[in-house]
Symmetry: C2
């Protein structure tokens, strides 16, 4: 089913409905990708960043909020930083990894329930015909997400997702998806934690899915992953042992206004710093900057077609079906003092696997 | 409105519907009640506990799971302990503090909306007639909770709740409600944290309400409070500044099966230790004990009429409208190796303010 990986699906279609909801508890094991040893200039916490306004903004913010003599000092327990995932911490183009996962799961689902083989949208997905798959309606996509992400126990979901995460490879770099994290952002996460910040992922992706690898890949424990979340139902198996089943009921659509709402629900504190890359992150950045004292809001612009991708109308680049960085968002960033990170000019290196 | 404090209201009525939902972000300031200096025997982390099976179970569990040479060693990042609040960390009898808060808020609500003065159930509450108030239906109680806990901005809610928390006093001890925490449990919280455990409150009470004081009173930050939670709506004020409004929409009813469901949603890891005191905690304890390795499940029995209260049919004591500790729960605890804490015989001291 990796044939479907190139299909273009609308982030808005997939995530506005928010059914990208999934399963938790940390899964140990698997390969280790995070924080590879790297040549690091002594004293430079962000060695993969070029000197420039973006790097300076991050370093200045951390210094200002953690220096006890600063008027903008933030007590350690209030140091919260939130990070969008898709397109901010790892590659989102041309399709969200979790959506690839859902397509890849369809054959196993159809094998278990053969009656689905001749029912749409499963019939189309099984053909592997990219053009036809690209034309699936939002409603049909929701059916695929529902059947691949819900209806099983949390343990079963975790086993399925873990198996995929340890084997599926992206079509361009031929790497595990968890290797497609941005090295400069891993450095920001680590530097913020070393400075007393609690780092959170706040993602439109499925909370349970991202929790599967967040600790190992980003150093972020499951309880610090806020995502689109579905409900679970508590029950007992035949032996009387309790377990949770993943329900197709949406509790939190963690996109747009849902991001500050999810932050309130899951964290209960306004972040001091927030990082995003699209209109889905706008409200999170606004909410962050609305707090008193020093606050940092940053947006990553994908303007590096050679090393990664270039998309988004903000720079006259072609629009993408994922991670829309509109001109309006760009204008808001400029007018409000949010920092726009240029992948092309601010980052020395994109991935840890590059040398 | 403290006249209403003695009214008996059913925990099940109030919490099965789960509308006890509320507002967050840490509120600084206020009096400091937590962790008063205490005479502590050298090396005794639980000085307010009498020697006995309950104290031994806690100390043995912590030792076994944190000793690197133990076969039951638990890595630090997996050390999660969850605590019910009402009746486990502080007094719940004869009425949940948060329900007292809601009744106490009614006059201010009626003043702001005079049209409610002649509408039930507000009319009855305004009379202060305890007998009549005790007869209010669940539906009527829900109206009181909805109007006092939702419909305002998070900031407004926090200001209102903070004002009450700093001034309202319980009718028996004449103390602030936040002073009615159990000293032995504060010692357990601290000892577990000192041993690398992350301590969480998992309460049927309103998440936003408990987050107001949890850090100052229990040393538990807002992001580690899981409770019954309502939704919020993101919006902008006239100046364009973003804010959140508390909606009367229930997202999580954190009681009974809702406790493990809430733990999955908010934490994403199975606890290694859980503490409760009623049937509302049963599923959380079952879920905790279902994990592999060493797990601790404890239930507090209120059997001390002189120093606190005695209620619950488990010991042939009169049933209470709050914190029901049934015979069935007692039998399950005994058959499954959960530890029952006797307030009367296991605790040297109940409150920090006692000397």
């Amino acid at each position: 089913m990796n044939k479907s990986s190139g299909t273009e699906l609308s982030r808005r279609q997939l995530l506005q409905t928010g059914l990208v909801a999934t399963a938790a508890t940390l899964i140990a094991g698997g390969a280790e990708f995070a924080f590879p040893p790297q040549a690091r200039a002594l004293g430079d916490s962000l060695p993969s960043w070029n000197d420039g306004p973006a790097k300076k903004a991050i370093l200045d913010f951390i210094h200002t909020t953690t220096d006890k003599s600063s008027s903008k000092f933030v007590p350690p327990e209030q140091r919260i930083a939130t990070f969008d995932q898709d397109g901010t911490l790892w590659v989102e183009h041309p399709m969200y990894s979790q959506v690839v996962y859902c397509f890849d799961r369809v054959p196993a689902v159809v094998k278990a329930k053969p009656e689905l083989a001749n029912v749409e949208p499963f019939k189309t997905v099984m053909t592997g015909d990219r053009e036809a798959i690209a034309k699936l309606s939002t409603e049909q996509l929701m059916k695929i997400l529902a059947v691949t992400l819900t209806g099983m126990s949390v343990d079963t979901f975790e086993a399925q997702a873990n198996q995929w995460l340890g084997s599926a490879r992206d079509p361009r770099w031929k790497k595990l998806y968890t290797e497609l994290t941005y090295q400069p952002m891993l450095e920001v996460l680590k530097h913020m934690r070393d400075s007393g910040y609690k780092t959170y992922i706040v993602t439109g992706g499925g909370q349970d899915f991202v929790r599967m690898y967040a600790e190992r890949v980003y150093g972020i424990p499951p309880e610090q992953v806020v995502g689109t979340a579905g409900g679970t139902s508590f029950g007992y198996d035949k032996s009387g042992k309790p377990f949770l089943t993943k329900d197709p009921k949406l509790l939190l659509n963690d996109n747009n206004a849902g991001k500050p709402e999810g932050i309130h629900m899951m964290i209960g504190r306004q972040p001091y710093a927030a990082f995003g890359n699209s209109t889905g992150d706008r409200q999170m950045l606004e909410y962050t900057k609305a707090g008193s004292g020093e606050r940092l809001a940053m947006l990553l612009l994908h303007d590096d077609a050679q090393r990664e991708y270039a998309y988004g109308p903000a720079q006259g680049l072609p629009d993408s079906k994922v991670g829309t960085f509109t001109q309006a968002l760009y204008d808001e960033a400029k007018s409000k003092g949010w920092i726009v990170i240029s992948m092309k000019s601010d980052w020395k290196r994109i991935f840890a696997f590059e040398q």
